[in-house]
């Protein structure tokens, strides 16, 4: 889970997959939780937010990596933030142009992508020290992992809270939606549930493979 302070790593499958499972930004590192809970009341919103964040991760990762030799150390955080804010603004306008309904559903949280610790963290700890290709692949992994986490929550909350999935009604008319899951407390409960499940899986795996264990 610790970031590698050594020389830039060579490209491997791990560069991509670490963002999905071992270092999943939401379930393992607990970063960027604000959008995770706020926009996952439906699966569609979760997917849209995940893709928007993926876009920003990719673009900012690539740009930071491209400019890594040029950006002076003292002002690097400020530069990263400006770069991230640029792409977030671009995504904001893009979503407005694609669908106003989606934009209204995601609300201020599109602009809040800029303070998503995942993106700044990746820029600081990875993109600034690795080649463009590596940065791209790693950002892709992180983005996919983040979207995966968002979908985990969005799907559960939509099915329980609305009785639909991606807008398609699943149950008959007599289904009483469990409204709390569409509301803020539900977000907290579902995330807690997933974390508990993953901790359980990890514990079982650790017990089964004694020589290698991932501590939660």
């Amino acid at each position: 889970m610790a970031t590698d302070p050594r020389a830039p790593e060579t490209l491997s499958l791990a560069t991509f997959t670490q963002g999905i499972w071992q270092e999943n930004p939401v379930f393992v590192m607990l970063l960027g939780l604000c959008p995770v809970l706020a926009v996952t009341n439906t699966a569609t919103n979760a997917l849209a937010m995940g893709l928007a964040t993926l876009f920003v991760l990719l673009c900012s990762g690539v740009l930071v990596s491209l400019l890594r030799k040029i950006i002076p150390k003292q002002v690097r955080i400020a530069c990263y933030i400006i770069i991230i804010a640029t792409f977030v603004t671009i995504v904001d306008y893009a979503i407005q142009a694609i669908s106003l309904d989606l934009h209204r559903a995601l609300g201020a949280f599109i602009q809040l992508i800029v303070v998503n610790c995942v993106i700044l963290g990746r820029a600081e700890s990875y993109a600034s020290k690795n080649t463009v290709i590596n940065a791209f692949v790693n950002a892709l992994g992180m983005g996919v992992g983040f979207t995966f986490a968002l979908l985990c929550l969005g799907v559960v909350r939509e099915i329980l809270g609305f009785g639909t999935l991606f807008g398609l009604t699943l149950f008959g008319a007599s289904f009483q939606p469990w409204a709390v899951f569409a509301l803020p407390p539900g977000g907290f409960f579902v995330l807690a549930g997933w974390l508990f499940l993953f901790a359980l899986i990890r514990k079982r795996r650790a017990a089964a493979i004694p020589e290698e264990s991932h501590v939660a």
């Binding site: 590192m29 400019l67 003292q74 640029t86 309904d101 600081e124």
Partner: protein
């Protein structure tokens, strides 16, 4: 909290030109990218907004085939071209025979979570409000959003009395939401039991907007009777 975002000591405020140049260069590139995106997407966004608005207008005025935009400010009503739809707060709907079928206006009031914005239709022939559609709401799904789907609630608007008083400067009776089952007068709204706050919000939104806009609107009704075709300025 993980140390992933290893906090750097805050950047030393630069006195060296290199730092400032770097920051300035990045800022300029960013500004350029954003400006370009803005220019590219602005017309598309405007089109989307116009379409969404028209959808809402024709939803509350189903008999209308064409609409005209107006702006009511204080006591003056002025016609607007279709380009300036964003400034309009009154929309007149006309059917195929160019007859005025209704007027759509916006209202807003605080609901359970946040402000509920609605577009409602007023029929001058019936002196009443014939329906509404929710433009924006964050009400509880399955509870607050029933105001749009509940058939019994929609019954309130067949029509909801919004006639003016003798002096023509206010509504004869305040529009108010009452508890479910207690509706007696045509200007009352029968609330949805279990969704009181949102139902009350609709009542407030309609009342506040109607009280402010109907008197000056009806004083200017001549301007509304004749439809204006798109593109014509007045």
């Amino acid at each position: 909290m993980s140390a992933e975002t290893d906090p750097v000591p805050p950047p030393v405020l630069p006195s060296s030109r290199k730092l400032i140049t770097a920051l300035a260069a990045i800022a300029m590139i960013s500004g350029l990218l954003v400006a370009v995106t803005y220019e590219v997407t602005a017309p598309v966004i405007k089109l989307n907004q116009q379409r969404a608005l028209e959808q809402a207008i024709f939803k509350v005025l189903p008999a209308a085939t064409v609409h005209a935009n107006f702006r009511l400010e204080g006591a003056t009503l002025s016609a607007l071209t279709s380009e300036r739809f964003a400034e309009a707060n009154v929309f007149a709907g006309y059917n195929a025979d160019q007859v005025l079928v209704g007027i759509a206006m916006e209202g807003a009031a605080r609901g359970y979570q946040d402000v509920v914005k609605i577009l409602y239709a007023y029929d001058p022939a019936q002196n009443g409000i014939t329906g509404f559609t929710v433009l924006q709401s964050s009400e509880t799904p399955g509870i607050g959003d029933k105001v749009e789907t509940d058939a019994a609630f929609q019954e309130n608007f067949n029509p909801l009395d919004a006639s003016l008083n003798a002096g023509g400067d206010a509504l004869a009776h305040e529009i108010i939401t009452v508890k479910n089952g207690r509706k007696v007068n045509p200007w009352e709204i029968d609330g949805i039991s279990g969704a009181t706050i949102t139902s009350t919000a609709i009542g407030h939104a309609l009342n506040d907007s109607a009280q402010a806009m109907l008197p000056p609107l009806l004083a200017n009704r001549d301007l509304l009777i004749a439809p204006h075709t798109k593109g014509e300025d007045d």
